[in-house]
């Protein structure tokens, strides 16, 4: 029998970022200080959190389901996934050194809103509100960024979703997935696992067994979503994993732009984040999915940081459907992530735009899969990798053209920029063509930052560090330009900050 452990005030040690006083001490201090200082979101929130005991077994899966008051079919889904997961091995093909993960040492459910739920009133702990304010994600609608609705998820639970009512006037559903299971069980049941089945891979199976919260979006037919929808993920509690699940369904002739942001506190241990995002795009519909991933990357020595092991996939079911993934990846100790597109609908179009920055000891293995099944389908891949410090940054991608995908086209361009002699940049594209009317082009370059450009900037009085920021931003511009405005500004700052202390 499992016991639910109530923690009082959480026992957290807040790491204070090193300050300038450390600089004089040791030779690497400056770099270290920069690296540590620059993770702005490394604070923890002191909030009463209900955390279930560490460990994973069938009873835990049942407990999570029970806590969420889930229907029988969903529990069955979780249990099947769990049983499948037990028979699988953690994959090792990626160019990352994934530490041995002790799945029994992790707690699979942490609810920072528990206290308020028990007290009858459904009020949000002001600490939580403050946290999201601090992260720049105001949860009060009057303070919100114009034209953006937010679902804020901390640890395993959605804290609040804004503008729900306004959106529902148009028939748009935007809520946490837990709420959707209660309110729109038929829709959830129809689509959950339809794009990423639990058998897809090891981490997808794990997520399907223990997923906690995430967002659910449904855009009804012929509707243009009037605001950007956004989910903000925050890991707070210690030794917990976050297993969010997002499901977006965009019905015929509709459009939505969706943003995802993530941060986590600085902790010495790794934190596990294994998410699934599923997107369904119907006839003539269009979805834009943008991510600025800024999970804690670990310190300059490679201690701690988030293990970001994510399965994201969109199914372009309808004719003329469009899906575009844009990602700026600056965080995480380890990134294992391949936002993919299955282009089933004739004339469907998919895009993948990515900037992945790795510094210090970060390791990223990221890219995309474009599976062309329908006729005259088109995909574009633009990937920009930037490696610094002792990091390893890999692009891994698959372009597959099926037998019946007449007239399919793909263009891929994967560039890597090297900012240090200790880092690595790798490109592993897989191209598989089974149709002779397809045109597939792939090109990649790897080079170091152009010293003439740096010199030119220096001559004009720009410091090397600033120049690197400028050049990197220029290099990443094709991708940044694809982001919605607010995110683009954020992403640019993030790029410069992530690379400070790497040159000179």
């Amino acid at each position: 029998m499992l016991k639910v452990k109530k923690q009082g005030k959480m026992d957290v040690s807040v790491q204070t970022p090193s300050t300038a006083s450390a600089v004089a001490q040791e030779p690497n201090a400056f770099v270290k200080a920069v690296a540590e200082k620059k993770y702005e979101f490394g604070f923890t929130t002191d909030v009463e959190t209900e955390i279930i005991e560490k460990g994973l077994n069938e009873e835990v899966v049942r407990l999570i389901s029970r806590k969420k008051n889930e229907p029988e079919w969903l529990l069955d889904f979780r249990l099947e996934a769990y049983r499948y997961w037990q028979g699988q091995q953690q994959p090792s093909w990626a160019h990352v050194t994934l530490p041995e993960i002790d799945y029994q040492a992790i707690s699979y459910y942490a609810d920072p809103t528990a206290k308020s739920k028990e007290g009858e009133k459904k009020e949000i702990d002001p600490e939580l509100m403050k946290t999201f304010d601090k992260l720049g994600i105001p949860l009060e609608e009057r303070m919100a960024l114009s034209g953006m609705a937010v679902d804020a998820v901390m640890d395993s639970v959605s804290v609040k979703t804004t503008f729900k009512e306004r959106l529902s006037e148009k028939g748009i559903i935007f809520c946490s997935i837990s709420e959707a299971v209660q309110q729109y069980p038929d829709l959830v049941r129809q689509y959950l696992g339809s794009v990423v089945p639990y058998r897809d891979n090891y981490f997808a199976a794990l997520n399907s067994a223990v997923f906690s919260d995430g967002s659910f979006v449904y855009i009804p037919k012929n509707t243009r979503c009037p605001m950007e929808l956004s989910t903000y993920f925050r890991i707070n509690a210690r030794n917990t994993g976050q297993f969010e699940r997002t499901l977006i369904v965009c019905d015929e002739g509709s459009y939505v732009s969706y943003l995802e942001g993530c941060t986590a506190p600085m902790r010495d241990e790794n934190q596990l984040h294994a998410a699934i995002v599923e997107i369904v795009v119907m006839d003539n519909a269009e979805v834009k999915y943008s991510t600025v991933q800024n999970w804690y990357p670990g310190d300059s020595e490679g201690r701690g940081g988030v293990l970001n092991l994510v399965t994201k996939r969109g199914h372009l079911r309808g004719v003329n459907s469009k899906l575009s993934w844009t990602q700026v990846e600056t965080g995480s100790a380890i990134t294992w992530k391949y936002p993919s597109c299955v282009l089933s609908g004739d004339n469907s179009q998919a895009e993948f735009y990515s900037v992945a920055v790795t510094n210090n000891h970060q390791e990223a293995d990221t890219g995309t899969k474009m599976i062309h099944l329908g006729k005259n389908t088109k995909s574009t891949i633009i990937s920009k990798g930037i490696s610094a410090g002792r990091s390893q940054n890999s692009y891994r991608g698959l372009v597959k053209v099926g037998k019946h995908a007449d007239g399919a086209r793909n263009y891929s361009s994967c560039d890597s920029l090297l900012l240090g002699s200790e880092c690595g940049a790798h490109t592993f594209p897989y191209i598989d063509v089974q149709n002779n009317t397809a045109t597939v082009e792939h090109e990649a370059t790897t080079s170091k930052i152009n010293e003439n450009q740096l010199y030119y900037c220096n001559q004009r009085g720009i410091s090397t560090e600033e120049a690197v920021g400028l050049i990197v931003n220029g290099y990443a511009k094709d991708v940044i330009n694809k982001l919605p405005m607010e995110f683009a500004v954020e992403a640019q700052k993030l790029l410069s900050v992530s690379l400070e202390g790497t040159v000179g």
Binding site: W93, H95, V401, K403, S416, L418, L419, G420, S421, E422, C423, G424, A425, H426, T427, F428, P429, Y430, I431, D432, V433, Q434, N435, N436, T437, A438, T439, V440, E441, H442, E443, A444, T445, T446, S447, K448
Partner: protein, 406 residues
Amino acid sequence: MESERQYIELYHDAADLIRQRSCAVMNAVRDAAFQAFASQGFPSRKVERYRYTDVAAAFAPNYGLSLFPLTSHPSPFIFSFKDAPIDLTPYYNKVADASDGITALNTALAHEGLLIYVPRNHRPSAPIQVDNWLRATAPTMMNRRVLILLEEGADATIVINDKADAQPVSFLTTQVIEVVCKANARLDLYEIEDTNPLCARFSNVYIQESRDCSVKHNVVTLFNGHTRNLCDVYLQGENAEITLNGCAIGSGSQHIDNNTLIAHQVPCCQSRQLYKYVLDDHSVGAFAGKIFVGKEAQKTSSQEVNANLVAASTARMYTQPMLEIYADDVQCNHGSTVGLLDESALFYMRQRGIPEAEARTLLKNAFMGQVIDQIQYQPLRDKLYVKVEKRFRGELEKCEECRLCK
């Protein structure tokens, strides 16, 4: 391990005979190689470098092992291992990757080795030609072993031809070629495969280059059955250069898999790769090329291009150009395309009155021509222009050299 069993049994039965016909340097590593093979078996498709070729299936049929001796060599630079003018122990099976299943099997079964040795600052006046003529009355397996050793400043052009009589007998060939180039040596190595659909070939070529070396390796698959070419290059001296070129023409149900690794291990080396495929009918092509740049290999310059024409809806192409880079001051790029013939060029040619089939042949020829152009040795280049064109016209099956057609 079904497929492996017959080779394991074969070794138990025939090892003594092989030893008798072989020489000390080969026998010295034979048992260890056999153990390596027996313990791991053939590489499965789960092994990254063997994703696109089912090795076990290709080795499954029952072949007889050929232990024919090498015929005489009229060249002063070609020797049987037995008559080697130098001690081969420091070289034999040293450059090759002994852990590779195919190499291990070859090392265990090969009874005779061919040495091409060019002494210091020597330059053979004519290219060295090695012809492998596959001819037998029953299904036969051959295990070919070649060591090419170029001393400092040596300069050679080597042409290796694989030919087969057009008889309904199947052949399985394993080949391991080890190339050691000492400082400032220069080598042009050509391999032309022009056999028949019953021939399976597994070739592993290992090239080691010292300072200031320049090596060009061209592998042309004109006609074959099932081909797997692996080529590993280790650039171990500064300022070394490697060029790997490949042409593959597939039709029928041919299978052509080229897998390359170029390891830049020291600074200031250059590598260039150009592989082109034209695939028709049910043929399958695969190209996987990895450029590895080690931490020390600053100022590396590397280019890799793989371009493919898929001419039939039933043909299939896999391509996988890879970069793995641990140094920062590098210029590396790769490009890969899979496509069809340029429709506007076709239309233009037809408007000028060139029949469509002819226009297609001209375009395919032009596409391959860009690889053939790079062949330095002119008589071979001219011959290949003709052969490639004949191949596209479907005339190569009746090859002019083969006795049956004469």
